[in-house]
Amino acid sequence: MTGRPYAAIIGAGRTRFGELWYENPESMVVKAGLEALESVEKGLHRADIQACYLGSFMYQVTNKLGLVPGYISRELGLNIPMSQTEAACASSSSALHNACLAIRSGMYDVVLVGGFEKMTDRYGKIVDDLMFAADPREFDAGFTFSGLYAAMMARYMYDFGKGDDRCRIALAQIAVKNHQHAVNNPYAQFRSRITVEDVFKSPLIADPVRLLHCSPISDGAVAVVLCRPEIARRYTDDPVYIVASQQATDHVSLYSRTSTVEIKATRLAVGKALREAGIGLKDIRLAEVHDCFTIEECLFMEDSGFYRKGEGWRGIYESIESFQGGKHIPYVGDGWEVFVNVGGGLKADGHPVGATGLRQVYECFKQMRGEAGANQVDVEGGIKYALCHNIGGTGGIANVHILTREVTL
């Protein structure tokens, strides 16, 4: 039984993801924010916004910015409360979580939530700076982010693949699927199809991770407008409600966690979110999942409970191998079918770190309202529930939001 929603999403906007050489961080946020405001069908003015919740990771080092609220105040011409949340790749979903709590508290009726990242302005040191989201001793051991995920992937293939080449192929197929999903996404950084062979021929980044196992370096911003659920229909006839907003944390350091082949924070946050929403996994038909590296999408499919631990690769392989036709490839299991990363995920849509969590919400919002245009996913019976899963670092934090259009208020 779905409980009272935290908030309703009434508008959403985003920039294209990619190398946005002519944008400043604040100009991207404002573009996405204004698009979100203008997308509210029955009209919403800047003056209606009572607070802003922002999420970003590296603006202080990539753009020498601090006090982001002050920038956004200037750009939007507003003097309302604003706060900025940093939680690495989970920055904007953490901002969204805070916004949900603020609306539920009764403090605000309408808030703007934004996420952004400008990664290409410091291309020469971005690999170093991304390691702020890891333990300093991992940095001192020479690890890069791709290296840390490669260590997860290597151990996963060792523990569960046990030399079966299909495991290696499945971890490449995830990239192939997500690239295919981005072909009709006009905002995506990469809209080209790739093959498993392309993945295996791409340059080695951190064996066993190759370039095409990785999400890219991206710029971009996303914004959504939330309001108190009870007043949502003042603004739109088709609100999407957030019925679960859950967060779990774990060690920042991969090495000190109980397992390197499980994201415990994902398992905990998904479990809590499903209980909060009062639904089962099988009710989820669309999931926007954190696929910074393909192994992470595979781990999500297990840690969420879709596949049993160690069998995700097999499920993925069989789903993709048996797929025929259509533009979106679902994962299938025992009595369930779920479409994952229909906009291309982090892999192909792009991964401006602090924008990604909200990009997932944007995608679900558009898909659930049937507004995804040429990239609209065709789900038999419609998408009743969608899930957004966003993690920070190598799993130090996980935010899970569950969205639906059907609630009883």
């Binding site: 001793r137 001192d140 260590a151 350091s253 090495y255």
Partner: protein
């Protein structure tokens, strides 16, 4: 990184410090003051893995490193699991991965051993960071020995050498031009994350293992070197902290130490001081460590560029469980500017042929003849001669001229395969002899340091030498180790430069 952050990291990373809950046995790295499970009931003890083996848990071959690590090219980063389940991050050192994809799963489960290495340096003028979170595979080049301290014997004897350790890096370069190098046919090459300080720590660790001495009993540490990585800031303090020399107090140790410089005799000059100290009633500790360590420098194309090696030899002097007593000593010095390096200069300069007759031969043979005369011994009374070896020709000619035979000289001529280890040269030759010496053997050590001077010592080997022998990693086994790897001249130069920043 800042100086305070560095100091805090040193306390954890030099020894791989772990906290352990005495109630439930859970371990934590980085260490923390309470146990997650026991909470307020926690009883925390700290332990370290400086001498322990771990297992490669997982890892990756880093092909696109951070800027900080670009000096290493491609390398393996990993997670290491120790006894009790605690895991640390680490880097596998001394391996250059193939260009094609490496199957990381083949490393999983293999034993690894901590090595004391640089992590990276802050440019030309910033701090140099060291850590033991660098590992080599246990079946790689470095032979593993357990550190099992035993209680020293009661009473005191004539002072001398209690233990020693030699560290030679894994890599070698061959001298392809036989006309150059004066008989040196191959030389030890540092990996880019090594320097004289890391050599000193590794040699010192081996000396502690060999002597089976609790490191807290050592009260002084001298590092003789002409390539210490800092112009000002002692390598000795790094070695003392890493090896925990002396009685611990708060986060430091009741030990003195300093870096010394007298070209290639910077270490041997201190042997007599070490013996004097342990014999001095004012000096409350019982043992002194002296290390000769050099990442020997030479300008590209210079004749020295065909002879320089890399490595260190460490000696512990004391009055208990002595393996070789010190019986005679002579030192001879004159202001002879045959070889020098001005402050701030990268490479030493030398006087070419002037380094021979008026420099090396004059000082070495004077010291050698004098010690024989003063001790009343003849060349035939000496079992072996260990000499400073800038090449092979010089020591052979010097020793033969005083009346020694090749049989006495040959066992110490290890620089043929290691190159000139500068401050570590004659100490390594001495170690190669102690590796094979029998009780009762007399060993003559003659060093040479440009600038210029020679120290001569006569030691007599005791029965204790055999008891400790199995704990040594012999010089010969390092020379012949089948896991040693050869690099070409260009790589040798590149690594030498990287390790000298």
């Amino acid at each position: 990184m800042s100086e305070p952050i560095t100091r805090r990291k040193i306390l954890v990373d030099y020894r791989i410090r772990v906290s352990r809950c005495e109630i439930c046995g859970r371990r934590y790295f980085p260490p923390k003051p309470f146990c997650d499970v026991e909470g307020r009931r926690s009883r925390i003890r700290y332990e370290d893995y400086f001498y322990r083996k771990g297992l490669f848990y997982s890892g990756a071959v880093i092909r696109r490193p951070t800027n900080r690590f670009s000096y290493l090219g491609s390398f393996i980063s990993c997670i290491v699991e120790f006894d009790g389940g605690v895991r640390t991050p680490g880097r596998i050192t001394d391996i250059v991965p193939d260009e094609g994809e490496v199957d990381v799963s083949e490393f999983i489960g293999r034993e690894v051993v901590p090595r004391f290495r640089r992590t990276y340096v802050d440019g030309e003028s910033g701090l140099i960071y060291y850590s033991s979170l660098a590992f080599s595979f246990a079946d790689d080049y470095y032979e593993y020995r357990e550190y099992k301290p035993v209680k020293p014997s009661e009473g005191s004897e004539k002072p001398g050498i209690v233990g020693y350790g030699v560290y030679i890096p894994k890599f070698r370069v061959k001298n392809t031009n036989p006309a150059m190098g004066g008989g040196v046919i191959e030389r030890a090459v540092p990996f880019p994350d090594e320097d004289a300080t890391t050599f000193a720590v590794e040699a010192g660790r081996r000396a502690l293992i060999h002597s089976a001495l609790d490191s807290r009993y050592i009260g002084k540490c001298y590092i003789g070197s002409e390539s210490t990585p800092y112009a000002v800031k002692p390598s000795a303090s790094t070695v003392i902290q890493a090896l925990e020399l002396g009685e611990p107090y708060e986060d430091g140790f009741f030990t003195g130490g300093l870096d010394t410089q007298f070209a290639c005799k910077a270490a041997t000059d201190l042997f007599i001081d070490a013996v004097a100290l342990v014999s001095c009633p004012l000096f409350k500790a019982d043992y002194v460590m002296v290390i000769g360590a050099d990442n020997s420098q030479a300008a590209p194309g210079d004749p020295l560029d065909y002879t320089v090696g890399a490595g260190a030899a460490a000696y512990i002097f004391g009055k208990r469980d002595v393996i070789a007593t010190l019986d005679h000593y002579v030192s001879y010095t004159s202001d002879t500017p045959d070889f020098y390096r001005r402050d701030g200069e990268k490479y030493p300069r030398h006087g070419g042929r002037f380094t021979g007759e008026p420099a090396y031969f004059k000082h070495v043979t004077t010291a050698m003849k004098t010690i024989l005369r003063r001790s009343g011994l003849k060349p035939g009374d000496i079992s072996y001669v260990a000499l400073h070896s800038p090449n092979i020709k010089y020591p052979v000619r010097a020793a033969l001229s005083v009346g020694f035979t090749m049989d006495q000289i040959r066992p110490g001529l290890v620089n043929r395969y290691l190159g000139n280890l500068y401050s570590g040269s004659s100490p390594t030759a001495l170690a190669a002899i102690l590796d094979i010496a029998e009780p009762g053997d007399r060993v003559l050590l003659v060093s040479y340091g440009s600038g210029a001077g020679s120290d001569a010592y006569i030691f007599t080997v005791t029965e204790k030498v055999e008891e400790k022998r199995d704990r040594a990693v012999s010089v010969r086994s390092q020379i012949e180790n089948p896991k040693r790897r050869y690099v070409d001249y260009a790589t040798y130069r590149k690594w030498k430069e990287a390790s000298s920043v």
